[in-house]
Subunit: 485 residues, 2 copies
């Protein structure tokens, strides 16, 4: 148990709201200051989106949601805070004033960070009371899902604050990218801006519509960039010769007229109309709210796919799963082997969790149980494992997307090569929605044949099995389909 | 059955090989001409990658692989071809000569397309025998996975050839983007080039390493771009105000120094060394071959995630699944309800297909069976469906990634509200690797309670069930776990 951490969000809106959601869902107390009377509504909307998507990224339950407090003053928001995130409008004088007020009341050990895209930390901390406390933590929308945060210190930012911001960003599941030198637009916005300016030219010159440009990205390079970025993609294009070969081959094209970026198009009324109208058409009648949910479901799905390969954003999520994981105190009782939220993508045309994911949950629960008895990744790497030979699932009730579910596991037999498990899938309100009965056999991964577990695993398992006898034979175990048991 | 289609690949290498693989795996005969003595090896390497990944995108079996023929001359390659794809080195005079030779021997109804990034179709077809036959079909690496193909006609390209190229590209599972105006770099390479030039500046100026830049892309904007592109992403950032609001807010930043794209860095030896060395470090000892497989597995995983939401590249794959789907001729015999290749991502730490995906295969097979009996999407939309209440899986043998598997389905009971199915999961070499026994109950999606199916579905099901009685009670049905049956 660690002490409750406290974040102050100064400036709500989409970005501030995204920050609030990320801190809250990671168990922090969040105090928000925003003079906009609409800010409570806006933040709650962002929170709704975050609640349905962020926990879906993980295969572990997130900590209990923290407390959200709306404050009347900056003072109330920042007193006692460990992390203060400023997301007020992009005007330097406004930001400088806000920082001055924050520093009057904030602990001097707190990180004070700005979400700014437009200003460098040295500009923000000019004339500040304690410039060493200030840096930029630049997030990406949706802040509650995208792991990237660019941490940009000024030359005055202290080492302690840099380290602390990196640690705390990691603690809330983000991927902190420490930026070496401050520069306008930091790193990522510069790349986006370059692409954006070229895209504006293409529309301006009637070469393509906004939809055609978006399609060229999402059916092509976007899928590459989501996992490897631009350098690694081109490194691969260089084959055995790597980047050197690629640069020799494509270096000359730097002199070709492949972008119009020597110039920037004028945002005339006509161009604004063209772009805005085309973008509205693209949405095809969907509201921003609907599109946000589609975006979030896609992000969750793609990041979950990357988790499988422990790659890129997926690796970040796997690491956060490990941080949130806990071992059971007492294996002699029913063992909690899973606790998680049901992702949107797990539902099917019947509007409930698809049968496949019941087995996914049970399978992951079995893996977790194996870890508890000492048959985890190291054991498997040593060449021993369990294979499932038989599974019996009873669906007793429906489960919907967004529900919290857990699995309680009973050992029915653990003698010799056998591992006979009985999982109960329970909902938050205590319904048993399904049971999974599984027979596993211990095997050698070399011979692919059955063999006894090692002594330690065997003993642990026998001990649990004999303790679990006292829990009784579970209702519905040992049954065949279509036969009342 | 449609006639076998024939493609000619002129110029092998990574791009030509990718084209060859895509045509072959979609059942086309492919004739390759490339004077490079290494070309057979190179194309076979690309084919190996494609065979393990492209079929994994689909939930339907692809057609039997076509025949691959290496030719000694352009004449041999292009005679009788329906589609001719040129991927020779990026030198205009070479390309023009190749097109002249192709047109001497090719049918005048064939599409003659170039993979060029660097040249406009009008340049390629200048002085050609039949300029109306020539256009650009610009693909993206890996050609066998990424759906985007930019189709760029010249002013002389005929309507028939434009239409034909669009149809044929769709037939091999691609997403044809018809480009309205020819322009250097077409659409997507211009966007990539803009981002690339900015990225080179960041390395050149010591702001970030290649890895940091790639991280800023793959943990941030890349995940957005993979699904929505740049305009739709920013449209969303505009909230209720849409793009007009976004442009009003961020229009001014077009005048800010957020990119260095008024200029291009010199590719000095020093900059080349820096970039190449950093990229090699990023690979962390992995070979290009290993990285290709990681990339492909990530692409397959992300695109499969997008399939679930029927979005972007995922929608393209779903449409291709529909094109490849076939209905069974005779429901009175065992019904083939699935035929597919096992994706890499379906394997687990035991090096075989994870138990979860056995149920996924069975679940999809059940859906397919429901479609066969008239309880498909339209029926479900009308408010009626089947819910699984009980499942019994026996794992009899291991299945590895890349194996072709099929499911043969027997109806054990179809009376009243019951649907009692028995699936056999068979491998290509005839092993029964698993069986799945499933009890489903017909329900009203409104009341969520059991109810009889409609008359037509009920009758079809009873007919199949009574025909299937003659197939006998399957081995392993009606069994409980741990009990010999």
């Amino acid at each position: 148990m660690r002490a409750v951490m406290q974040a102050a969000i100064v400036g709500g809106g989409v970005i501030g709201g995204g920050w609030a959601a990320r801190f809250l869902l990671n168990g922090w107390t969040v105090r928000v200051y925003d003079p906009d009377p609409e800010s409570q509504r806006k933040i709650n909307e962002v929170l709704d989106n975050a609640r349905r998507s962020l926990p879906s990224l993980y295969d572990t339950s997130m900590p209990p949601e923290g407390e959200l407090i709306f404050c009347e003053t900056i003072k109330q928001a920042v007193e006692g805070a460990h992390f203060i995130q400023e997301s007020v409008p992009e005007r330097l004088s406004v930001k400088v004033d806000v920082f001055a007020e924050i520093q009057q009341h904030a602990p001097d050990t707190a990180v004070i960070a700005s979400s700014t895209s437009g200003f460098k930390p040295s500009e923000l901390s000019e004339g500040a009371l304690r410039p060493e406390q200030i840096l930029v933590c630049h997030p990406f929308n949706p802040v509650y899902l995208l792991p990237l945060v660019e941490i940009v210190p000024s030359s005055q930012t202290s080492e302690a604050i840099k380290q602390r911001s990196k640690e705390l960003m990691t603690q809330i599941g983000m991927y902190p990218l420490m930026v070496r030198k401050e520069i306008d637009g930091h790193i990522n916005d510069r790349l986006q801006e370059a692409l954006w300016r070229e895209a504006l030219w293409l529309v301006n010159d009637g070469v393509a519509t906004t939809e055609e440009i978006d399609d060229s990205v999402r059916f092509g390079c976007g899928l590459r960039w989501a996992q490897m970025g631009t350098f690694q993609t081109f490194w691969l294009a260089g084959g055995e010769g790597g980047m050197r070969h690629f640069l020799a081959q494509f270096g000359p094209s730097l002199k070709w007229p492949w972008t119009k970026l020597m110039d920037v198009p004028d945002l005339t009324d006509e161009l604004i109309d063209t772009i805005s109208d085309q973008c509205d058409d693209q949405a095809n009648g969907k509201t921003p709210r609907e599109m946000e949910r589609i975006r979030d479901d896609n992000l969750v799905g793609m990041i979950r796919a990357l988790k499988k390969n422990n790659w890129g954003a997926g690796e970040t999520m796997n690491q956060h799963d490990q941080r949130m994981r806990s071992e059971p105190a007492d294996l002699s009782q029913l063992v909690q082997t899973s606790h998680r939220q049901v992702p949107q993508s797990w539902t099917d045309y019947n509007g409930h969790m698809n049968e496949t994911h019941y087995l996914e949950v049970f399978s992951v629960a079995t893996d977790e149980f194996m870890q508890f008895i000492g048959a985890g990744p190291d054991y498997i790497a040593s060449g021993l494992s369990y294979f499932t030979v038989e599974t019996h699932i009873r669906h007793l009730d429906e489960v919907k997307a967004g529900e919290q579910i857990k699995v309680m596991t009973q050992v029915l037999d653990g003698a010799g090569k056998k591992l006979h498990l009985f999982h109960r899938l329970e909902t938050e309100d205590g319904r048993v929605a399904a049971t999974g009965e599984h027979m596993l056999i211990h095997v050698s991964l070399e011979t692919r044949a059955a063999c006894p577990p090692d002594e330690s695993v065997g003993k642990t398992l026998r001990d649990i099995a004999s303790a679990h006898v006292s829990l009784g034979k579970p209702d519905g175990s040992g049954r065949a389909i279509g036969v009342k048991g």
